[in-house]
Symmetry: C2
Subunit: 421 residues, 2 copies
């Protein structure tokens, strides 16, 4: 029953019935949170064994270094090796950082602002711009806004961002780069197609100091058995000699502990050399005890994959709960569309144009917290006011089922309200 | 026997004898390192118990937060409380960061460059300057050089930097701040007197965006029973309302593990608010598992003091070995002066003017690595070429005794060479 086909009377009747149901939910005084891309309590348990001090042995990294003491800027070899296997990048092109890849990205942009990326410092060039696939990750946008870099929305389609638009825009030398989540994108869950990755690699930007932050946060975060595969950006770049245009980051935040993981940067020889040079001024080295803990717990790529299967076992029923509720309550009504990701942490829900804010507000009133409408767009401004990021991982499955039931109700109420307005 | 009083013939005779001794040392093919302010192997052992997972209990901080997950920007309360006791600063004025206070300082200066400190960004103000007490810490100077901030040498005397000079220089609005190690200063080991701290607090700089980085790295790092006491800078500031001029940092790098400690920033209400605001863009939070590990291992100020007594037991004989060798081999000869610190990690050795580089080179040839001559001055330039930083902590006591014997020999050889030149 597509509600677009209902008569005004039928719409009014249906809205009244839904409002009654809504009020009864509201009366329950619920407090449910679907706002955060945060692992749930169960997921934290599967990493506790990493805290066994036996994993640290005699505190020596395989290069003989005592990990308790000062020294070693770029990470212990056994930790680099694991990410070398996962990202398919040579260990020399990898640096292990602290507990948050967000800090790597922030700092990389800060460095470009003060020292530039091989050309004049960005802070001395006026009117610089970044390309932002939308819907996207609010914390990427926050970094760009913080540094006063203008953001340009690039619509996402099923194979990634609109590459025609990007190829056109990079002809402007003020366009200095882009922030991407190429695999299980936040929030759409889409993985860039091989063609999209190749077109990124083939970009010939006018700016000599063009940098794409390739935030591969969900590189091993599959929840489906038939999982996505992302083409290695640096392999794709080889044909065009464009390796310097890409800074890839990832972390173990959603592999081991969100608060106490290790983060990773992969880049070209030239970029690694430049980053290491300023790191000598910036730090004496990151937490190597935590690196050794990670290396000996995860062991290798196969170890990481085994760990991710344990996460998937917990996450799969949660994603299914949301998707089946959407299917049951929203499908065929002409009021919503959503993604069905094979991995990552989010589902992207598009409601009727102009209804996202109202839907989120209705949910809030009924005790269900969602990511703010607009958060998935630069400056918090969704031009169509239609996108809502659904984060199914943190609540328990029971809470989630209740929350998504209320969400579906609010999606339909706001659609009916709009049709009747 | 002051060698200044010897005849040329006597000098020549003595130099020949010392050179013979030097050659016999050289023939041993030693490899001794006194260059690094790095805890020794024994010191690392006394913190191993911090890795017992039992210390992490049920992973809950006292505010109920699961430390394994995301969240909490500014640090867990029990960790803040310990540093609140040590620094005598309210917990609200403390932020716990990652494993290196160097990164806090680097980042603070980077922020001032891009966003300023309440006035125009420093990168948009030309010719800005910082005051650098000398001899000082090479990594402070490296940060300032990296950002292109001009450094002005301020001589240290027994009660701290020359405050007359500082009071005069801050009348220049281009002078934006200073880097200080106010307690057991690197490398002199001097602690600023109460009067020096009060004069810092009373400064009325012309610059509205004046910031002193108060690097209290050695705040609890006593090696003598009669230890120094540093006046609380923020207490001193109250009288003058100058709290905003000071950013204090410290860390547990030399309390627990050098590579895996926690670092701490203390500042005024206004500065804390500004720092927290940009932290929301910069990180999701620092490693709280490591914070809980630290809090439950160290417990409180008394726990930290007990831990520092264990370090002092190991360090005291090393410092004594150096000082007694200096006394035996250098005293009364008119060729060297040195500090006798009650804490910290260094002894500052002044040789004859123009002899530091030669002394360090002679040592290197004989297999003894020292901190490079000049490293304790901005731009690596010691105007008198006389200061050498001695780091007695890393070598074993036996190695240290041999190394310092050779050092004393080289000090005298270079002095004799100069007198005879």
């Amino acid at each position: 029953m597509n509600i677009q086909n209902l008569s005004r009377g039928q719409l009014e009747e249906r809205l009244a019935a839904l409002r009654e149901k809504y009020d009864s939910y509201k009366a329950l005084g619920l407090k449910l949170d679907m706002s955060r891309g945060k692992p749930g309590a169960e997921q934290l348990e599967i990493t506790n064994a990493m805290l066994d001090p036996a994993l640290l042995g005699n505190f020596k990294a395989e290069n003989g270094l005592d990990v308790r003491n000062y020294g070693l800027l770029d990470g212990i070899p056994e930790c680099k090796r694991i990410f070398s296997q996962i990202l398919e990048v040579a260990p020399e092109n990898i640096i292990i950082f602290g507990n948050a890849s967000l800090s790597i990205m922030y700092d990389y942009i800060a460095q470009c602002m003060i020292f530039g990326a091989g050309d004049e410092p960005w802070c001395k060039q006026s009117g610089i711009k970044f390309l932002c696939p939308v819907p996207g990750y609010d914390r990427h946008f926050a970094i760009l806004e913080h540094f006063g870099i203008e953001m340009i929305n690039i619509p996402m389609n099923e194979s990634g961002p609109d590459m025609d638009m990007i190829e056109e825009l990079v002809k402007d030398e003020k366009v200095k780069g882009a922030f991407c989540v190429p695999m299980y994108s936040n929030p759409t869950g889409i993985t860039y197609s091989d063609e999209t990755v190749r077109r990124f690699a083939a970009l010939k930007p006018a700016a000599k100091d063009f940098r794409v932050i390739w935030d591969n946060a969900y590189c091993v975060h599959h929840i489906s058995d038939s999982h996505d595969k992302l083409l290695n950006i640096f392999e794709a770049c080889k044909e065009y000699g464009t390796e310097d245009n890409f800074i890839e980051v990832t972390s173990t935040s959603k592999i081991t502990f969100p608060g106490s993981g290790v983060s990773v940067l992969a880049a070209s020889d030239a970029n690694i050399a430049a980053i290491k040079k300023r790191m000598t001024v910036q730090t004496i080295g990151y937490d190597k005890l935590n690196q050794l803990r990670h290396a000996n717990f995860l062991k290798d790529k196969a170890g990481v994959e085994a760990q991710m299967l344990r996460h998937a076992e917990i996450l799969k029923p949660k994603f299914e709960a949301v998707l089946s509720a959407f299917e049951k309550n929203l499908a065929g009504k002409g009021i919503a569309e959503w993604t069905k990701p094979n991995g990552g942490y989010f589902i992207s829900l598009d409601v009727c144009n102009g209804c996202a804010k109202r839907t989120v507000a209705l949910c809030r009133e009924a005790g269900v917290t969602l990511t703010g409408a607009g958060a998935t767009f630069p400056y918090g401004k969704d031009p169509d006011d239609k996108n809502i990021r659904i984060a199914p991982t943190f609540p328990s499955r029971d809470e989630l089922c209740k929350a998504v039931e209320i969400l579906c109700l609010c999606v339909e109420i706001s659609a009916l309200e709009k049709l009747l307005a």
